[in-house]
């Protein structure tokens, strides 16, 4: 498959299928997914629940490999999770027994970096994410937004060229969410990472991404690969933004209806 890999792609997904067994039947969570993501691009995967967007993200992360097809990062096939693809989870997944500092430093300690270097890097990240005042706190004493900042800092500490984000702001209130979206865009502009971001919010996808990939409900396929060319910072009230929003709403609504019909028939599996 390597001969087909696009030379410019940072993440290359080719002919990926993911099949689950359910009630003795094959269920296609992903079917024939092809996606090429160039270096430095911000891509959102958008779709209703059950469309396989998280499955695809987990496959890129290496948590669960595809049933067939190939995923390559910088031309190397993905076979396991690794610190070159840092992941931010919706549930924050901070280690509750570690302070903010320790959480951020953990990946660096695993890498075996020197103490002084770790300290300097952690301090820099605390500054970057405005966490200096919270460095000695435990996660339980932080708000959801703060926790997600720490989770982002933990991934940034790895210095990985790719950031995978699984509905990272889904559990936050609207204001905190917008705040962190802006923060993420600032970091992305500054650090030029390739970001693959899963969301079910149309507005979030249009606000953040260079490219929004709409997925279909089961089997998960790519329904629409939309380039968002609006200049940043984007105005969510502008006519252009709303035109795109309307377009994506219609696409998503079709999938949502299929999902609901499935649920009425009692065949939905989640």
């Amino acid at each position: 498959m390597t001969d087909m890999t696009h030379a410019s792609s940072h993440i290359s997904i080719q002919g990926v299928h993911k099949v689950f067994q359910s009630g003795g039947q094959d269920v296609y969570a992903l079917k024939a997914i092809d996606l090429e993501i160039p270096r430095g691009e911000f891509v959102c995967l958008l779709g209703p629940s059950g469309c396989g967007k998280s499955t695809l993200l987990n496959a890129v992360a290496g948590f669960s490999l595809p049933s067939s097809g190939a995923i390559a990062v910088e031309g190397t096939a993905v076979s396991a999770p690794g610190p070159d693809r840092g992941m931010v989870f919706q549930e924050y997944a901070l280690f509750p027994w570690m302070t903010v500092e320790q959480n951020i430093a953990f990946g660096l300690q695993i890498k075996g970096e020197a103490k002084a270097a770790i300290q300097a890097k952690v301090s820099g990240l605390l500054d970057l994410l405005h966490l200096q005042d919270f460095r000695k706190r435990y996660p339980k004493d932080l708000s959801g937004g703060m926790r997600q900042r720490v989770a982002i800092a933990r991934v940034l500490a790895l210095d990985s060229p790719i950031m995978l984000m699984d509905e990272p702001f889904g559990a936050l209130d609207a204001l905190t969410r917008r705040n962190l979206q802006d923060e993420l865009l600032r970091l992305w502009t500054e650090l030029r990472k390739t970001i693959l971001f899963v969301t079910h919010s149309i507005e979030e996808a249009l606000y953040l991404a260079d490219r929004t990939v709409v997925m279909t409900y089961r089997p998960g396929t790519i329904k629409r690969d939309l380039r968002v060319d609006l200049p940043r910072p984007r105005d969510v009230a502008s006519p252009a933004f709303n035109a795109l929003k309307k377009e994506l709403s219609l696409l998503l609504m079709e999938e949502q209806n299929r999902h609901e019909q499935d649920e009425f028939r009692g065949t939905a599996v989640d």
């Binding site: 948590f63 610190p83 693809r85 992941m87 989870f89 997944a93 027994w97 990946g107 695993i110 339980k140």
Partner: protein, 272 residues
């Protein structure tokens, strides 16, 4: 202010019970030999606590003399057995529990035997323990370690098995080796369970020490109250029982302070 009122109301019921007890034994409603009055118990308690002989500087320091009372000696004897038995029981349960929780193979190998042995109360081991270890500290410590072993084991197994898989996924994502996963993620994640097990184990150890002292040893708080029965010293029996209660409360308080200190990151302990 509110706190004081709370404490004041907390003392009402004990005071009432004390008054009732006082009336029972002083009004002749109950034979005072069977139930001596609170004052009588207190007097005996003091006699039990006080050093037996007058202070003699040639025998050592004043502090040392203070600890020569029978009660202190008994309490230290019981405490020694509890701590030793608990250390042995926990020392064996912890590694086995970690192995059983982490490895399905180890779990499959050991769990059937554990499940058969676990329901046997430590007390049921008394005859065997005397056959095997004779009399004195060894059988007592053996029984106590059995009492501490199972609670620590079961909680450690559960603690390791129920580590939220998201932490392990993060660990793999950050590139942690299996060893690092175990020491830096699984172990700390399981500590709340392990501490709960240790606290229960300590409680069981304390129950078992009293029983074992009634059978295998000739000092300690358990031995003393049984001895007092032979002389119909109900006041000493009751004094000894309160000593046991207070020591148990002291141990549990230390355990719970220690665990809330070490687990200050833990959400579930915010209230405790």
């Amino acid at each position: 202010m509110k706190r004081y009122r709370h404490a004041a109301s907390g003392i009402l019921v004990p005071l009432a019970a004390l008054a009732f007890w006082h009336l029972l034994s002083t009004k002749g409603w109950v034979n005072a030999t069977i139930l001596p009055s609170p004052m009588q118990v207190l007097t005996k308690w003091w006699a039990y606590l006080r050093p037996l002989e007058a202070f003699d500087p040639s025998q050592g320091s004043y502090l040392k003399w203070c600890f020569t009372g029978e009660l202190i000696q008994d309490a230290m004897g019981s405490l020694y057995r509890v701590l030793l038995g608990f250390a042995i029981g926990t020392g064996l349960a912890l590694p086995l529990g970690l192995a059983m929780g982490y490895s399905k193979v180890a779990y499959g190998l050991f769990n059937p035997l554990i499940q058969v042995l676990r329901p046997i109360p430590p007390i049921a081991y008394i005859p065997l323990s005397i056959l095997w270890f004779g009399l004195g500290n060894p059988p007592a410590v053996f029984l106590i370690s059995i009492g501490a072993f199972f609670p620590v084991l079961m909680n450690t197994v559960t603690g390791v098995q129920t580590v939220d898989s998201i932490y392990l996924r993060v660990g793999r994502n950050l590139g942690a080796s299996r060893f690092t996963q175990f020491t830096r993620i699984i172990l700390p994640a399981a500590t709340p369970y392990i501490f709960t097990g240790a606290r229960i184990g300590m409680g069981t150890a304390f129950i078992v020490v009293i029983v074992s002292e009634m059978i295998a040893v000739n000092n300690g708080l358990g031995y003393r109250i049984l001895e007092a029965r032979e002389y119909l010293w109900s006041d000493k029996i009751i004094a000894g029982m309160f000593t046991i209660g207070l020591l148990g409360l002291g141990i549990d308080t230390v355990m719970s302070r220690l665990s809330s200190r070490l687990l200050r990151w833990h959400r579930g302990l915010e209230q405790g």
